[in-house]
């Protein structure tokens, strides 16, 4: 992994440095809050309470976390092969389209478990296909992946609007939304699961796709570090020439990594369409793909780091909404500023403290 300093202990690289970055971002947010006459301590309290203080809040936090794990992993897998996939937005969108199309076609005829399995596959397939094309263009035609994936985000949203407005919209319904899916296509909500075993849990959008996300995180770890393909991906990512010399075909490895990346992003569609919205609609993916980049950067492209970073972002999303709800002089734009600061310090300035810390460790060991 690039950027990691081999001279520093792991806990510093993956623990202390990100933590310092987050703390800095939060301190600057505190100043912003203070400037708009909001007590930063009170704001922090509401934010924490909103994210973790009651069941519904926890549910929302974990629901967002699920999406961030998917998109964070997607970005990370592409990073490992040296590609910057910023098309997570589009891949998530099209993944959702796959779910929607499949469920709209089959929800009357296919039994629930099979349908859910098929729609998960459809999400992966559609997302993978949407990432495969830019991957192919990069591998065989040299079109830069950053440009093509961004363009594919726009294509995805144009395609979705066309389909939702002209083809899939429920007749008589003004909003461009499909009809509601049959209940067989719904993933069980956590609060329903808890209720089934006798525990009362407040309603929230949290559903069992969280388990799918954690499974993906584990799978990504096995794939990247324990398989031949993962080894090839990491080799191409660190040195393409060496990879060629070792008998690896970089183009094919890139295609594989991009397809998996897209499939992971596509799973956002499972959480959103099967899990929460229960109908196909516009903009359900909004923002998760791009936030996934920050999640991957902050998680150092490692599944454990990504799960933790996703949790942080989930907490910021939900806690931020709580903050905007509770305090009349905090509007949603301030919340975006706060999230932006976290992204800035964890993403763009991720090595801000590294020289300092490295020096401290040198002095210690010298």
């Amino acid at each position: 992994m690039k950027g990691l300093d081999r001279n520093l202990p792991t806990w510093v690289n993956v623990g202390l440095l990100p933590l310092l970055n987050v703390v800095t971002a939060l301190l600057i947010s505190a100043v912003v809050f203070w400037l708009i006459d909001v007590n930063p301590l009170e704001a922090a309290e509401i934010l924490l309470y909103g994210a973790f203080g009651y069941q519904e809040g926890i549910g929302f936090t974990l629901y967002y976390t699920t999406n961030f794990i998917f998109t964070g992993l997607a970005v990370a897998i592409a990073f490992h092969v040296g590609l910057f996939n910023i098309g997570g937005e589009g891949q998530a969108y099209i993944g959702g389209l796959g779910v929607g199309l499949l469920c709209l076609a089959l929800d009357a005829s296919v039994p629930g478990p099979v349908l859910l399995l098929l729609s998960t596959l459809a999400a992966a397939l559609f997302g993978a296909a949407w990432a495969f094309i830019p991957g192919w263009l990069q591998a065989y035609r040299g079109s830069h992946i950053v440009i093509t994936t961004i363009m594919f985000n726009f294509l995805a949203s144009s395609l979705m609007v066309y389909l939702m407005v002209n083809v899939l919209r429920e007749p008589g319904q003004m909003a461009p939304q499909s009809r509601a899916l049959a209940e067989t296509a719904w993933l069980p909500f956590m609060h329903d699961l808890f209720a089934a075993i006798g525990i009362e849990f407040e309603r929230s959008p949290l559903n069992i796709s969280l388990f799918l996300a954690l499974l993906c995180a584990f799978g990504a770890w096995v794939f990247i570090w324990k398989t031949k393909w993962g080894y090839e991906i990491r080799t191409v990512g660190s040195n393409q020439q060496a990879a060629v010399y070792a008998g690896i075909k970089p183009a094919r490895v890139m295609l594989l990594a991009m397809a998996i990346s897209g499939a992971l992003a596509g799973f956002v569609g499972v959480n959103e369409i099967n899990g929460v919205q229960h109908r196909l609609l516009l903009d359900f993916h909004y923002g998760y793909g791009f936030a996934g980049i920050a999640v991957a950067l902050m998680g150092r492209n490692h599944p454990i780091g990504i799960v933790l970073a996703a949790l942080l972002f989930g907490a910021l999303y939900q806690g931020g909404a709580e903050l905007a709800f509770e305090m009349s002089n905090v509007n949603r734009d301030i919340v975006v500023v706060m999230q932006g600061l976290v992204i800035l310090f964890c993403g763009a300035l991720e090595f801000l403290y590294k020289p300092l810390i490295a020096n401290m460790f040198k002095e210690k060991t010298a």
Partner: protein, 330 residues
């Protein structure tokens, strides 16, 4: 510290039934946010006016994604806010499910209908207002060519365009109507640059009056019209003052009044569920004539437009609603 908050909140939920009957107005904007210079902002103005006139605080929620819409509505309902005004058709599903769960809370939905016993739905007959400004555009046009520029390509915006076209053809059966949509995503409502280019190309094709139903993208159309010395028609709010001499008129949609009077009715205990369709007859939509466009509209035109308005209200002129069958065949 957390424990005290939890305790405080449990306290809140305990006293909730007692305050549920109180008048605590609230509003949930749609995802565009309250400063969209158009639809949501009109509701925001209504809320501000209501606060100023009555001194009662209006609780505002600005969701950033789909899940937060329902979350916001439910949270307000649980805390005893009522009536809760939900802005925009996209909240229909959320209002439908939350209102079923909180039968004692009053919900008011703008721009869409939900048929629950505690929901008041307000919709507008945009096609009627668009018909009027379409007719006026055709009267003003020297070339017999007029243009329509819509924001996002959705049925609601096509409804404006279809009404406009009918109005223009009513006034001048040979009129040619150019139609362009700015884009296919929500961003189309905030893209004045592209709007200006579309306007220029319509002007180049001979159009001399353009109606923009494009949220804050409209400003690009108005500027383009001013640059080439032609005319533009504003939308939602009265935008005549933006470029006097260029703005022929505005098709106003009185969302602010609708929200304001709804809260007022609730305050006086006169809130009622049901569907309210605000058209020309109810002053929900209208064309704007003030000192800024007085010089552009002759007395004869004014009389003609008002005659058409009266004919629509009396039912003599039937304006086809695009959304009734998703086509513009009339």
């Amino acid at each position: 510290m957390k424990k005290t908050i939890i305790a405080a909140c449990m306290g809140l939920t305990l006293v909730q039934p007692a305050i549920a009957a109180d008048f605590k107005p609230a509003v949930v904007y749609d995802k565009a946010g309250k400063f969209d210079k158009s639809f949501n902002e009109a509701v925001f103005r209504g809320a501000e006016k209501f606060k100023k006139d009555t001194g009662v605080e209006v609780k505002e929620v600005e969701p950033t994604n789909e899940a937060q819409v329902e979350q916001g509505l439910e949270k307000l309902a649980r805390r005893g806010s009522s009536p809760i005004v939900a802005v925009g058709f996209s909240q229909a599903n959320a209002v439908s499910s939350v209102s079923a769960k909180y039968p004692d809370v009053q919900f008011t939905l703008i721009d869409m209908v939900v048929d629950n016993p505690n929901v008041h739905s307000i919709v507008f007959k945009e096609h009627e207002g668009s018909f009027l400004v379409g007719a006026l555009a055709a009267m003003k046009s020297a070339t017999g060519k007029v243009g329509f520029i819509g924001g996002m390509d959705i049925p609601l915006i096509r409804k404006f365009g279809c009404g406009f076209e009918q109005g223009a053809k009513y006034e001048n059966p040979k009129a040619e109507v150019f139609t362009n949509m700015i884009g296919s995503t929500g961003a189309a409502f905030n893209n004045p640059g592209k709007a200006a280019e579309l306007a220029k190309s319509q002007f180049d094709s001979g159009a001399d009056v353009i109606f923009a139903a494009a949220g804050s993208s409209g400003s690009g159309v108005y500027q383009a019209a001013k640059d080439v010395g032609k005319y533009a028609i504003g939308v939602d709010s009265n935008q005549n003052h933006l470029h006097p001499g260029t703005m022929l008129t505005s098709m106003v949609k009185r969302v602010d009044v609708a929200a304001y009077s709804n809260w007022m009715a609730a305050k006086d205990g006169k809130w009622e569920p049901g569907v309210e369709a605000l058209g020309l007859a109810e002053n929900g939509v209208d064309w704007a004539l003030d000192e800024h466009n007085r010089s552009l509209v002759t007395k004869e035109m004014e009389e003609k437009v008002n005659q058409i308005k009266a004919d629509i209200i009396s039912g003599k002129i039937k304006v086809h609603d695009y959304m009734s069958d998703n086509s513009c065949k009339y």
